[in-house]
């Protein structure tokens, strides 16, 4: 049987991290749940941000979780894909903006 580092069933066990460090685990989940409550941003907007970040971080558990969360909230696939593009645009922008550093260095080193 093939083994992989990621097992989809592990996502359900996320809460178990608290078992080996109760205080920190509980504090983390309290914070996590608070973050996703309705606030200045709606829970729906937060779900889409989480989906975009999940892709940028390439976290398979988070992608599964926030795709399902989006479906539950009635978020359409078009909205989800646009959110992924926002993440991708920031990622590629972050790469490309370093091109300025390359240009600066190139110019500095060149006569």
């Amino acid at each position: 049987m093939s083994k992989t580092y990621y097992d989809p069933a592990d996502q359900r066990k996320f809460g178990s991290i608290t078992e080996w460090s109760e205080e920190l685990g509980e504090k983390f989940f309290e914070y996590y749940n608070k973050v996703f409550e309705e606030g200045a941003l709606s829970a729906r907007e937060k779900s889409l941000i989480a989906l975009a970040v999940a892709h940028v971080k390439q976290c398979p558990y988070c992608i599964d979780a926030y795709t399902k969360d989006g479906l539950q909230r009635g978020i359409t696939k078009e909205e989800m894909m646009e959110a992924v593009h926002v993440g991708a645009a920031i990622e590629s922008g972050a790469t490309l903006v370093h091109g300025v550093q390359m240009m600066n260095k190139y110019n500095k080193l060149s006569m």
Binding site: R12, R44, K68, L71, Q72, R73, G74, T76
Partner: protein
Amino acid sequence: MPTQSLKRRNSDLANPIRQLEYLSGGIFADGELPTFRESLKKYDLGELKPGKLEILQINLGYMCNQVCEHCHVDAGPDRKEIMTRETMEQCLEVLRSTGAHTLDLTGGAPEMNPNFRWFVEEANRIGVQDLIVRSNLTIINANKKYYDLPDFFKENKVHVVSSMPHWTRGKTDKQRGEGVFDRSIQALKALNERGYGMPENDLKLDLVYNPAGAFLPANQQDMEKDFKKALLEDFGIHFNQLFAITNLPISRFLEYLIASENYEDYMYSLVEAFNPGAAARVMCTNTISIGWDGYLYDCDFNQMLDLKVKHPIKHISEYREDLLKDRDIIISQHCYGCTAGAGSSCQGTVA
């Protein structure tokens, strides 16, 4: 999307015993997840018992003009089970004697029963407070003989409750069949024209949302806001309330969960969302479900699993509320569908 019922396809899951075996096996048999009984016990809820009968829910037959992917009734055009007038008369007698305030007619497409209109008129004569017809909407324009249904509903002050999985064409048609969305919109407009769902009108038009896939419904109020906004802006359609209903893991929805390898994850979601507050208010405590052949069930889902009430009285012809209220409600793991999150019933959330 299946074009035939499980029964017609001779599917293994057409047999309710097989479904119940599935719901009791695997992750529930090996203790990975608690059974529904264990969850009730954990919160000291013990046996579920019926309270005062408020709602008579009657299944007029399994025949339907649609074959929806998630259908827990396994309804479709190929289903021939249909309630006779004699059984309907027995139901009317129970309505008279119990004083249940709500009559909830369902199917299949209840309008396809040849005695449907007679039954509605008779029930109105008895004076039921709320007469619900669960209409799939497309029946209204399925055949010339149904075109006047909106007028019939209006004349009889029927409370129309209709399924509408999404406000977009793609999602609706995927779950309910090609063209269902456009025909539903057409039917909703016809109902609005008669005053249904319009502000300051007593004719009630409610919509039922159930997720088009292996996930739970979102907050009912939020969904209602989204549906109202989208249906009004895009189509000028009004309605009263939205009921968010969780898909229970039985029949064709169970088949879908197994085939798409979503069964375990879905059951985890239901169990994790178990809400004792919802469990205390499940619909089987105020409703009795009557099958097309007059047999009695704790709910529509138990009907489809062929779990007749746990009592010597099993048929509408011998109905006695005073005796039947002592029974225990039959439960299995499908009941988690009614207790997840804000709970789920044929009238939407319960907690």
